[in-house]
């Protein structure tokens, strides 16, 4: 019983996905009379979105429940270890993932019918992908890791290509699929090498084997470990879209339906960071590999600086808001990587990254949601010009957009501010002054393009005669925005509770 309870967040979302699939298959299409359709779920995005959101919220609530009960007091959980490691770290991330997924589902409930892609497979795919993401955050074994990664990714590949008639979407899906498979293959090679070098598939065993290098009688080859480390880093850097492995991101986000882009930006990235932290700290946590002079910290520091700087500079030059948000997500990967680097010395950095990703999840989902509200069928808000005058046409959407941009820019009193603060604080505590200062300078550069959106929202009038985006109204999107806004303000004004939770997550990561 305790085992079932411990696994309940995963089970709830997984079983929910299957139920939703049945509900979709056996329901009646809800289309206008006279329209022929072979899709049993056509026209039912609303109810399915509601179902998916409820399932994911249940997943989030169960994560909290298991957290409160304390995974360490459930000894049965060791039966599934190391394939699934249910600790507070996992639970914190599965909460974040469920929240991100639920927000994406709500956005889709408004977005898909509005834009005539009312295809109901979106929601079961979203849920299955979330199960993969949650399993990824719990993966303590190379096999689970890879299977979970692929489960998560396969769902996302098809979500991107949902808009079948659009060549852009096809391009985006193909690009993500090809590059993603390539990266997965590289990583798989790294994992195989790791197994070959150490004889273990579980991360803890690998960690012990790596520690034994240099001691008498050890047969583990340091060279193989280093090569596999590089290969695994490449694979995961692709998933978190760190520069220079980011090339797919803007195209994929732009071609994907906005809720799918939201899901990619928040859930896929968070799950990838979870597994990155666990692999690095548990598998490669040896002091010789996790030190400033050698191993992964300097490599990740380079990735962090590149991600922040390149993404921020390029984001400022975008004409499409969606692409800008894509580059912003790359930049945020850079900030979070600063925390990952700091994790080599300070265990608190793990909780800083966890908190950061939760703050990032709600802010980014909110920003995408507000962007959805600014456009409607045939007149999707894409460019900055489309946002001109929204402050007058749809004040609520503009206000929400501003709030989430503030949070993304890291300005108080929002979640993003505390997220950045926490990450850079741990960086300073670990003596990484240069990284912290570069990160803060980059936040300022980032503020430029976030504020630029506000220039258009509030200070520009649409050019006379130009086709303008018509704002839409949708209860689903509004619900998602309100929920995200509550999160952003709560984490920004009273972060104490969540900070405590996040710092609880840190201790059990290893």
């Amino acid at each position: 019983m305790n085992l079932l309870f411990g696994l309940s967040p995963f089970l709830a979302v997984g079983v929910g996905a299957l139920l939703l699939m049945l509900a979709e298959a056996f329901g009646k299409p809800n289309v206008a009379p006279g329209v022929e359709t072979t899709d049993a779920g056509a026209g039912r995005a609303g109810e399915l979105a509601l179902g998916a959101a409820v399932i994911l919220v249940i997943g989030a609530v169960l994560s909290v429940a298991v957290w409160v009960a304390g995974p360490e007091s459930l000894p049965e959980l060791t039966q599934v270890a190391p394939h699934l490691v249910i600790d507070k770290f996992t639970l914190f991330f599965s909460f974040t993932l469920c929240v991100g997924g639920a927000l994406a589902a709500l956005l889709a409930g408004g977005y898909l019918p509005e834009h005539g892609i009312d295809r109901s497979e979106f929601f079961p795919l979203l849920l299955l992908s979330t199960v993969g993401a949650m399993a990824l955050s719990a993966a303590g074994d190379l096999l689970t890791l890879f299977v979970a990664l692929e489960t998560m990714s396969l769902g996302v590949y098809s979500l991107i290509g949902l808009r079948r008639g659009s060549p852009r979407a096809a391009e985006a899906a193909l690009k993500y699929f090809l590059l993603g498979s390539f990266a997965a293959a590289i990583m798989l090679f790294g994992l195989a090498l790791l197994y070959g070098a150490t004889g273990h598939t579980d991360l803890a065993g690998i960690g012990a084997a790596v520690r034994s290098i240099g001691s008498p009688g050890s047969t583990v080859s340091a060279g193989k470990i280093l090569i596999s480390l590089v290969l695994v880093l490449v694979g995961l850097a692709f998933k978190v879209s760190a520069v220079p492995f980011h090339q797919w991101t803007p195209d994929a986000y732009e071609g994907a339906p906005t809720p799918a882009a939201t899901y990619m930006a928040v859930a896929v990235k968070s799950a990838a960071f979870a597994v990155l932290l666990r692999v690095l700290l548990v598998g490669f946590g040896d002091e010789r590999l996790a030190s400033w002079g050698a191993g992964w910290p300097p490599a990740l520091a380079v990735l962090a600086v590149l991600s922040m700087t390149v993404a921020n500079l390029v984001a400022g030059r975008q004409e499409s808001v969606k692409r800008m948000l894509a580059y912003s997500s790359i930049a945020h990967a850079g900030y979070a990587l600063v925390g990952v680097v700091a994790a080599m010395r300070s265990p608190e950095a793990v909780s800083a990254v966890a908190f950061y990703l939760l703050a990032y999840t709600v802010s980014t989902a909110g920003a995408f949601g507000a962007l959805i509200l600014c456009g409607s069928r045939g007149a999707e808000a894409v460019s900055y010009e489309d946002l001109a005058g929204v402050g007058k046409r749809h004040p609520a959407a503009a206000l929400a957009f501003s709030l989430f941009l503030f949070s993304l820019a890291g300005l108080p009193p929002t979640a993003g501010f505390f997220g950045k603060l926490y990450v850079f604080r741990t960086a300073i505590d670990s003596g990484l002054y240069t990284l912290a200062i570069l990160g803060l300078v980059n936040s300022v550069i980032g503020a430029y393009y976030y504020l630029r959106v506000m220039v258009y929202l509030y200070m520009r009038e649409p050019a006379p005669g130009a086709p303008r985006a018509v704002t839409m109204r949708s209860g689903f999107v509004a619900t998602a925005l309100v929920a995200a806004a509550i999160f952003v303000l709560l984490l920004g004004m009273a972060p104490g509770f969540t900070l405590d939770m996040a710092s609880g997550a840190a201790l059990t990561a290893r």
Binding site: Y433, A436, I437, S443, V444, V455, M459, A494, P495
Partner: protein, 522 residues
Amino acid sequence: MPFLESHLLGVIVAAPFLAALALLFVSPTRPGAIRAISLVGALVSLAGSVHVALGYDLARGGLQRAERYPLVPSLGIDLSLAVDGWSVSLLLLTGVIIVTGVLASWTLTDRPRDFFVLLLVLVAGVFGVFVCQDLFVFFLFYEIAVLPMYLLIGIWGSRGKVPAAGPFAFVWRRFDVGGREYAAMKLTLMLLVGSAAILVVILALYSAAGGSTFDLQALARARFPRELQLWAFPLLWLGFGSLAGVFPFHTWSPDGHAAAPTAVSMLHAGVLMKLGAFGVIRVGMLLLPEGASYWAPTVGGVAVINVLYGAICALTQRDLKYVIAYSSVSHMGVVMLGAATLTVDGWNGAIYQMFAHGMMTGLFFALVGLVYDRAHTRWVPSMGGFARQMPWVASFFVLAGLSSLGLPGLAGFVAEFLVFLGAWQSQHYVWALAGVLGAWVTAVYVLRVGRDIFFGEGPRSDEIHHLTDARRSEWGALWVLGACLVVFGSYPRLILDFIHVATLEYLPRAAGAASALLEASR
């Protein structure tokens, strides 16, 4: 009312904020109610500030009226409020400026509700900074005070542009220099860079002090290692200094002040720039005394550049708002100069200059707004002879100008005199000399601009019949600020007593470190 009495500082900070919240529920089509609520919020804060000043126990000194509300206990962040003598004087300044600022924007017609909401949120942040005793919340309030400025300038800013000229005209056109969006973006980004520097130092201090508290008093007792002080102080100086207009990070200020609407210019030049200087003294010099005394010659030297460079720029400007904006840069140099002397008189003068300059520049910008409202131009050469149509405006302009150039009997004189005295005592004779020179240049440009606008025969003297003097609510700002200049100039003890108490308490820490440094160098 014991509750009010024991939570007065909280009430002062919260009143504008609550008024802003209340405004959100008022229909935007009822400007009367909007103005009334804003004015009430501002008046409550002013009344609270006056009450705090009257109730401050000068004999006891130190921090009084302490209030503490836990915010993030796990990180040691509390909302802890208390006043010392410095805070008292700056609270008074802020209260007066926001009330007169609301009065000065009484006739605003473009989206008045949103304007007042942002204005009140901003001023709540300013009040918060002046009474806050927790470094982290200090920073939060600081940001709250700075950020609304972006929208206030970007949406309600003046549409006037600087004509592009000179060899770099193409650059000006490319970036729309002088436009309000340019000004708002420049101001926000430059100040955010400053904030980033401040945040690094705050986190470094927090971590060096053991990572358990952000309390300013506790941090002041922490005695940070010398190495940390030496690199942290300049970062803080430049971080806060970017808001105080320290050369060469002052360039946002002329553009920002020129583009901002009247009330925002008043608040920004009158109060916000003081936040920067206050931050340098309160956080920089009190927490990092060794760093402060090591860097004091640099701070003072740059302040001298500020004074002279600002004054010379003001001399060459032809746009009225730019003249006043550069005069602010110059006068803020006097504040930093006083702070850098590390003497009792210098610090008294620095804080007094914040107070006096706030009143004076508030009056200036209120007048400039009036003139612009009537004449629809800020271009000085196209004005002239306005005194016949608006004699009171002209009189108040001359009054503010005389205070600005340091005429004895007006508030500006007291401040500048003390600062120069401090400079002399600290044996930086050059600073005193340069400061006096700056005051002289100030006299030249202020009197010249006054003459060009109000007296003599302007090129458009036949077209100025429609100009009118101040009307109704506009009188408020002029009389209140003008009276303050005269009253506090002729009887400076009203404010100076408060400032002096706090200075006597704080200076020994910084000066003690200075003398220790001197000993070490011998």
